[in-house]
Every structure is written in C-alpha cells, then in structure tokens.
C-alpha cells in the first residue's frame, strides 16, 4: 500500500449481537482496516450495541464469541472499547461500580469494555478521520 495515507477510524456499533450482525461486521472491518495499515482508535457501543460487552453471552458452538474477539483485538491493538453507560443501564448491562451504586445483586460487563458517556463518541469523532456506524 505504498503512498497511501494512514486513516484513523472510530466505529459505532448500534445493533445487538447475536441477533444482528453489526457487531461482527464492525469487528471484521476493524481487522481489515488494521491489516491495511490503518488505525482504529475507539469503538463506541451504543443503544442495542451495548450487548457486545455482555460477559454472559453464550453463542452457538459454530458461531464466534464476538465479545471475546473484541476484547482480544482491543488488547492487542490498543483500541478503546467504550460502552455507553446510560443505554447499557437501561438494558441491564452494568459494571461492578454501577451494581454497588444501584444496589444490584450482580454485574455483567465483560473485561476489556469500559462504561462511559456520549462524550467519548463525540471525542472519537473529533479525533478520528472517519467514523463508521454499524447496525442501525
């Protein structure tokens, strides 16, 4: 890819795995972008997309575990995985801090994912060359 400029991408995932393919398509896009020498700064999981961060997902045997795939890719490539705290709470996806704060008996946010606000999406848009959405 001589002479091509490196593009900084951020991604937004809005559809829930495994019902919708969006989280997986986003993952494949991220891998393709990285393999082509581009960067993926942040993935923002919003609305139904927050379910990608659910540590309790149990996919079919012949399906990929999208939550772990994202965690491993993010860890290897230094990608921020951000789950929108408000939309996640409404969908019953919380971390330990939120569970304690709201008197909930359990928490289920997977390792590698962090809860945060919409400011992270705006920040990603400001810091990236392109912002691509998946699953609307």
């Amino acid at each position: 890819m001589a002479g091509a400029r490196q593009v900084i991408f951020s991604l937004v995932v809005q559809a829930a795995p495994p019902v919708h393919q969006g989280a997986e398509t986003a993952y494949r896009f991220a891998r393709a972008a990285l393999a082509s020498g581009h960067r993926v700064r942040r993935v923002f999981f919003y609305a139904d997309g927050v379910h990608a961060g659910n540590a309790l997902l149990m996919p079919w045997q012949d399906a990929i575990d999208i939550s772990s795939r994202w965690r491993l890719l993010a860890d290897r490539e230094g990608i921020d995985l951000v789950v929108c705290i408000g939309t996640a709470a409404r969908r019953g996806l919380i971390d330990e801090t939120e569970a304690k704060r709201n008197d909930k008996s359990a928490f289920n946010l997977g390792a590698g994912f962090a809860l945060s606000g919409l400011g992270q999406l705006v920040g990603a848009a400001l810091e990236s060359d392109r912002l691509i959405t998946f699953g609307c």
Partner: protein
Amino acid sequence: MRLLFIVRTAPYGTIRGREALDAVLAASAFEQEISLLYLDDGIFQLLVRQDGAAVGQKTASGPIAALPHFDVDRIFGGAYDLCKRGLRVEDLIPGVQLLENEEIGALIAKQDLVLSF
C-alpha cells in the same frame, strides 16, 4: 463539527426516539452544530395531538419542543414522509422545518457524524 441525529421510528412502540433525544442532549454539551431529523415513522414523534399517558409513558413531543431551551433549534422533518402519512405541517409541534428529499440529501452530506435511531 456537525452532528446529525435521524429518528425513523414512531414513539411508544420502541425507545429509540427517546434515546435519540438523550443523545442529542448529551451531545449539546459539547458545543458542536447539532441537527435532528425526523423521517419515516419518526414523523409521528412530532405530532401535537398525542398523549403518552394512555400507555404510561412520557409524551414524546414534549422534550422535542423543549430542545430550543438547550440551544438545539435545528429540528427538521421530511416533507414527503409527512405527506405520505396523510399529515400536514399543522399537525406538528411548532419549530419544525420541513425538508424535501434533495434538501435532506444535502443536509446529510454536510455532516461529520450521522446517528440513526
């Protein structure tokens, strides 16, 4: 930066329109140019004559009408979407600017970020 939020879903049946408003309000804190566009069944969010109390929900049009107080006053509706549903501009809350399809295309083309609900 220009942010556009498109709502294509009717109120009460799903929470998408309400989550769109949460996103609009959160984004409005960052002092960027925000636009909100109602298309397809999203146009029903803008009706004057609706009452969420009948289904135990907040009436959808109230928070939309309050957006100018938060400096969000670029609120648009699809003219064709309105007409296709047998509605007229008089059926909508005030402050909504109707756009023809070409104008919608031009609006979207100007944006840095488009989120669809």
